[in-house]
């Protein structure tokens, strides 16, 4: 077996001493694979990504990275009206000298990367005027011009509509399978992880992790435990393709119905007087 793209061992991090966000984490991410990180809010997914890209230093344990990393943050606001091309050019930061400006060659590389995603026509358009999916692709293009080998994506499909979710997921698959990039992503959608990920890590608790091949780790039982909300894994055949996915089983219990009941205002009023 080849060397892992990222190896994490005994990793621990806290923002405030004594309050570990994550601890004793051991994981190995194979090169060229898609690795999904799942966990409820506040369990340390983004912290872990920041540890992987080196924005945070481990308090305990180590992170070993073999390859050039590009980070794709959650859909973000840019304070200035940069064009899509300006944004992609920034991926060349390491190639452009400290006191230099992007050269024609840099611009050509950026345009080629945009073209790869079918967005060369939009090069001059302000980044913030693009759709959420297009913005995500611009940032992918930025990772390509940085000649990254490992893509770290923070919730690449959050805040996107269904069509853009499909577009972005499809491109993530292509970047891994065709370009051989290693992809690490966090997601709140277990069905996205099941659809595209090769490996998955469930962040169950402070020092409680489940990792392995996505199809094996992503079980009804584990996910129901992870989120505290019931999920059903279902399989069906669509246009000759076998598809497995997750559907949340929405509760129809007492909470929902009681919330809809009109309070007895007359009685409440009487009780106060």
């Amino acid at each position: 077996m080849s060397e892992p793209a990222i190896a994490v061992s005994g990793l621990g991090y806290f923002y405030r001493p004594g309050q570990w966000v994550l601890r004793h984490l051991k994981a190995s991410i194979s090169p060229g694979k898609i690795f999904a990180l799942l966990g409820p809010n506040g369990r340390g997914k983004t912290t872990l990504l920041h540890l992987l890209i080196g924005a945070l230093k481990p308090r305990e344990g180590s992170v070993t990275v073999n390859g050039k990393i590009a980070f794709v943050p959650q859909l973000f606001q840019v304070s200035f009206d940069y064009s899509a091309l300006d944004m992609v050019l920034m991926g060349r930061a390491k190639k452009i000298g400290l006191f230099s400006q992007p050269s024609r060659k840099d611009e050509e590389a950026a345009l080629a990367a945009l073209d790869r995603f079918g967005m060369a026509d939009l090069a001059g358009r302000p980044f913030h005027e693009l759709s959420g999916g297009q913005r995500q692709l611009v940032i992918f293009a930025r990772a390509l011009v940085a000649e990254a080998e490992i893509l770290i994506l923070d919730e690449p499909t959050s805040a996107l509509d269904l069509k853009n979710q499909a577009l972005v997921l499809d491109w993530i698959g292509t970047l891994s399978r065709k370009d051989g990039l290693t992809v690490v992503l966090t997601t709140h959608h277990p069905h996205h992880a099941l659809a595209i990920a090769d490996e998955a890590l469930l962040m169950m608790g402070e020092a409680d992790y489940a990792a392995g091949p996505a199809a094996e780790v992503l079980t009804e039982k584990a996910l129901t435990l992870l989120y505290g909300a019931p999920l059903k894994r279902i399989a069906f055949t669509h246009e000759g393709r076998r598809i497995e996915t997750f559907v949340p089983v929405l509760p129809v219990g007492s909470n929902v119905s009681s919330a809809r009941q009109q309070p007895d205002f007359a009685r409440l009023w009487a009780a106060r007087h």
Partner: protein
């Protein structure tokens, strides 16, 4: 906070946009020649051009009986050079600071340098130091204010953008209070008027010594700032993203802020407080060339020179007695800013 200026003039990456800084530079030179004509003693344009292009002012063995030569090269030239240089420095600083703080609503004043430099200047006037002493102490205390703000941010832990803003506000507020204290203690007949007048800002006391100081600082700090201008794009993406792109965020931010502080301190030291230039001019430049700092900084620099020189021309020729330029830039700057604000609001600033 987002603040985008939708502009019909936003240039595409083309030759037109690359030419614009050159055009602005030419406009600045023309305005300088025009400004040399202005004043109580009229000198026709052709005479101005002949004097400027045939004699060298600094160590020229000029004919001091030749009135037009004295007016152009000795009286007006230092002031015009000083104003243009300060305008360029302030606009460059403002454009850089807005990028560093990812906020187009900040000006170069934010680092506390302006107040620090003001304090030094006021103290020097209080001590009856000569003009160059006022300049020197103002410059030194401006840098000291920056160092104080930096150490404060460092003490507070991670030198985040917010930390720097807060330390700047603290140092600025402290220096501002001390300036007030000095003013209360100043002799109201002799010292106070000159302190107030100096604080309001004026280029009236321009000399070639001051020009040399500002030119030296602007040449070094401005050139470095221009060299780093594309990197400001990277910083403006935010800490994590910039870091992931391979930028040494802290070092770059401190470097840029130090350069800005040099430019601002030298401006305050020669001309007192001149507000709003560093805030307004980058916005105007952004409307012309777009937000990319590669193109924004050169355009802002030349536009800053034009703007401040235009203001100074008005300041010294509108009324019989000269208007302090700091007052004028504020009186003109605030409505322009309000207009920009209103325009960006009505044209869909809201970007969820």
């Amino acid at each position: 906070m987002t603040f985008a200026i939708p502009s019909p003039l936003r240039a595409n990456r083309g030759h037109g946009a690359d030419l614009l800084p050159l055009l602005l530079f030419a406009a600045l030179i023309l305005l300088m020649l025009f400004s040399l004509m202005l004043g109580r003693y009229p000198v026709p344009f052709l005479d101005v051009a002949r004097i400027v292009f045939t004699t060298f002012p600094i160590n020229a063995k000029g004919d001091y009986t030749n009135a037009p030569w004295v007016v152009v090269e000795i009286v007006r030239m230092p002031r015009i050079l000083l104003t243009a240089l300060c305008g360029m420095g302030l606009a460059l600083s403002g454009a850089a600071m807005q990028g560093v703080f990812r906020n187009p609503l900040v000006g170069p004043e934010i680092a506390g340098v302006t107040s620090g430099a003001s304090l030094g200047g006021v103290v020097a006037i209080m001590l009856s130091w000569p003009s160059l002493g006022v300049t020197g102490l103002a410059f030194g205390s401006g840098l000291l204010a920056l160092a104080a703000a930096f150490s404060l941010a460092k003490l507070a832990g991670r030198a985040s953008t917010l930390g720097l803003v807060l330390s700047g506000v603290i140092v600025g507020g402290f220096c501002g209070a001390l300036v007030g204290l000095v003013q209360t203690l100043a002799d109201p007949m002799v010292k106070l008027p000159s302190i107030v007048y100096w604080l309001l800002g004026s280029f009236a006391g321009a000399t070639y010594e001051k020009v040399a100081l500002v030119a030296g600082v602007t040449l070094v700090a401005g050139t470095l700032l221009l060299g780093l201008r594309w990197r400001i794009n990277l910083l403006s993406l935010g800490e994590t993203d910039a870091q992931a792109l391979g930028v040494n965020v802290e070092l770059l931010r401190w470097g840029l802020m130090s350069l800005v502080a040099l430019l601002v301190a030298v401006q305050v030291s020669v001309s007192g407080g001149v507000g709003w230039v560093g805030l307004i001019v980058p916005h105007l430049a952004r409307m012309l060339v777009g937000p990319d700092h590669s193109r924004l900084l050169p355009a802002a620099a030349f536009l800053g020179g034009i703007y401040l020189l235009g203001m100074d021309d008005i300041a010294r020729s509108l009324t019989e007695q000269e208007i302090p330029i700091g007052l004028l830039t504020s009186v003109v700057g605030t409505p322009i800013f309000a207009l920009l604000f209103w325009k960006t609001q009505s044209k869909g600033w809201a970007r969820e």
